[in-house]
Symmetry: C2
Subunit: 163 residues, 2 copies
């Protein structure tokens, strides 16, 4: 199994978070963008697991933090993070997940487990090429793709196998 399959097996998730935050700082510096405390905190929360988090979930944690935030605070932070390629929005869930390939130019494909909720982001150039070809056949100029797959991850499949 490829090492990218991280969410599906035990791993040192604190290291995931730490790395994501470090990379985010670097990327924001390169972009001359300010990773303010609120933005950084939101990113950290999004990374608290490999399960997508809703904007209002983020909001609730901020509130618990003592940060008296309103929805726009969260949505603005999320917009910023998306803009800089640090998080992705999962359209089929109205939720957000940390990008596992930040800084790299990539088209994500998301494998969403219905059972455990974890999301694995793949780069899948083969898929985006196939989509581009299909679009080109219709003379359509793509500019953004949403590719999301719901199903069962290997962990959950083996859990339920011995029923």
């Amino acid at each position: 199994m490829s090492p990218s399959a991280l969410p599906y097996r035990p791993h040192n998730h604190d290291a995931c978070v730490a790395q994501a935050l470090t990379e985010a700082r670097t990327i924001c510096q390169q972009h001359n963008a300010r990773l303010t405390p609120t933005r950084e905190r939101v990113l950290e929360l999004i990374w608290q697991s490999h399960k997508p988090l809703g904007a209002y979930d983020v909001l609730a944690v901020l509130a618990a933090d003592g940060h008296n935030a309103a929805p726009p605070t969260v949505y603005r932070a999320l917009d910023f993070l998306q803009q800089h390629g640090l998080v992705h929005r999962i359209a089929s869930l109205n939720a957000f997940v940390g990008c596992t390939h930040p800084g790299k130019n990539h088209q994500g494909l998301f494998l969403i487990c219905r059972c455990c909720g974890n999301v694995l982001e793949l780069t899948a150039p083969g898929v985006s090429d196939a989509v581009k070809n299909a679009a080109a056949d219709e003379a359509f100029q793509p500019d953004n793709m949403t590719i999301e797959v719901s199903g069962t991850c290997p962990g959950c499949a083996s859990d339920t196998a011995h029923d």
Copy 2:
């Protein structure tokens, strides 16, 4: 250009609608499902163009019809129509569009024009195979795919070409 590229060029759209309704009746009969007046009317409204329609847009037209409907009426009708493969929900737009391949077993790929709003549904087996392969490489069992591409359709591209 393939004949499926219908929304992007002038065509007898009344014929589109009529055919969609006829096929819907047939399919519901085959499924032993009841295409009630409300459901049929909602399907007709969804088909009023090749642009996806929001649930509340449908609701507004029903209201104008004199039908005193509440949101659940519309969402239930849309659920029914989705269940029977007569409409698709476009996750990136929170809106619904008529299925152009009803009755056929297919995985849709949607080309969404940002400019005119029209959506072309493709079957694109190449794409779904590529997605299935990518999923299989991670031992993931897909069960539903969302593949949506935003961009510029050929009509809109040629309109803006001579700027």
